[in-house]
Symmetry: C2
Subunit: 222 residues, 2 copies
DNA sequence: AGATATCCTGACCGAATGGTCAGTAACTTG
DNA sequence: CAAGTTACTGACCATTCGGTCAGGATATCT
């Protein structure tokens, strides 16, 4: 198994060596749009608000991005790319504890590193995933199926309890994503201004401990 | 401990015995608005769309609800009331397994019975909870604190592992809410049109099993 | 039946929406 | 420096937004 690498986000989206100005402005627009779309969803976000957030006139946003729709799908694609970057292959011979822990940890890091992107994705799904149907029913479904098969084999080998692998994946997704998507709730209840790195580390440890034990996976080396 | 009762939703919001027409139309509008707000968030939803969904002219919606804002907060309040209805008191002397299972089960039922309300709430939190700050930092925080204290005492008595009680509550919330909020993702990946009652029952059992075991809670009678 | 309160809605309002475009400014390269 | 590309933007457009209102339709009650 190749360890999940959460790549340092260099920001280099695509080559496009030319156009330093274009690069800088596009980056500003994308960052601003991610925040606004995450906060208000596709329909609720306005180009005016995005432009203001980016510190540019509205016309300039359209000059670079063409249309609201185009900007939105570009953001979704960027987030899916980040996601795909940590979807590594695993095999039946890997250690379940190691795989599950690295799964939880990398997913947690992704949500933490890109909270707005995470919320953008959540808003898209909440609204019925109008732009992501194909991705869900295609790539992502296949990936889940492949993982599920391996979990089942682990169960058969007695390396973990015979739990439904798909629901286990959903459990991990929901638990990790929660801290980005419901950040306002988490902060409001815990009375904090932000989650610190050590908070996140503690939560990751908690989730790893509970989920592994809950599935009957013996930590480290079977 | 009083078992969590998920009340049959009779729909009787408040008395208002008079005005049968008003009652009927308000109900239709609230149901329609819940769908639209859940799908598009507060800003993204339009009164036109809500009116169309309810089969009424836009003016009629405003006649009954006064304003978009008022309609929205009324829906939020209705959802919080449903939520509060299953926030029962527990004591240190209750059986942890029983409490946790009933907690998971009733939360799951709430999300299933009111998926649009659940998504409406999720969208509100996603957008930074502009209308629910007070609720989160008040009532809900107190409720979480009270529960957390009891979980800690259980841990001290050796009835469960010494896990952080607040993160345990968040884990249960996220895992149960996921099936309503991310329904589009769940259905897309599992290739289903809808989750059946037996699906939900199986998921509830799965979550109960994993979470209880993961926290070192021995099922049924310590 | 008549009076009264409730119900209903098309027309309208100013503001904001996503998007176009013509024209200008600023770089880059020969 | 001149030509050419890229960057920029204010003015404008049709449409939709939340909300108002006058006035008619309908129900309810004595």
């Amino acid at each position: 198994m190749t360890l999940c690498k959460v790549p340092q986000d260099t920001g280099e989206e695509k080559g496009e060596a030319n156009g330093a100005i274009r690069e800088r402005n596009e980056r500003a627009i994308l960052a601003a749009a991610e925040r606004i779309f995450a906060q208000h969803g596709f329909r609720g976000a306005s180009l005016q608000a995005i432009a203001h957030e980016a510190g540019l006139p509205k016309s300039n946003v359209l000059y670079y991005m063409g249309s609201k729709r185009g900007l939105y799908v570009r953001l979704l694609e960027r987030m899916m790319a980040r996601w795909n970057a940590l979807l590594d292959d695993i095999s039946v011979d890997d250690d379940p504890a190691e795989v599950l822990e690295s799964f939880i940890r990398s997913k947690m890091q992704l949500s933490r590193r890109h909270p707005e992107g995470s919320r953008l994705f959540a808003a898209e799904i909440l609204g019925g995933a109008p732009f992501l149907q194909d991705y869900l029913r295609g790539e992502l479904r296949d990936w889940v199926k492949a993982r599920a098969r391996i979990f089942e084999q682990w169960s058969a080998r007695g390396l973990m309890d015979p739990v439904d692998p798909v629901w286990l994946i959903f459990l991990i997704w929901s638990a990790t994503q929660h801290y980005a998507d419901f950040e306002a709730q988490v902060l409001g209840i815990t009375d904090k201004d932000a989650l610190t790195d050590s908070d996140v580390e503690a939560i990751t440890g908690f989730l790893t401990q509970v989920i592994l034990k809950g599935c009957g996976v013996t930590p480290r080396q079977a």
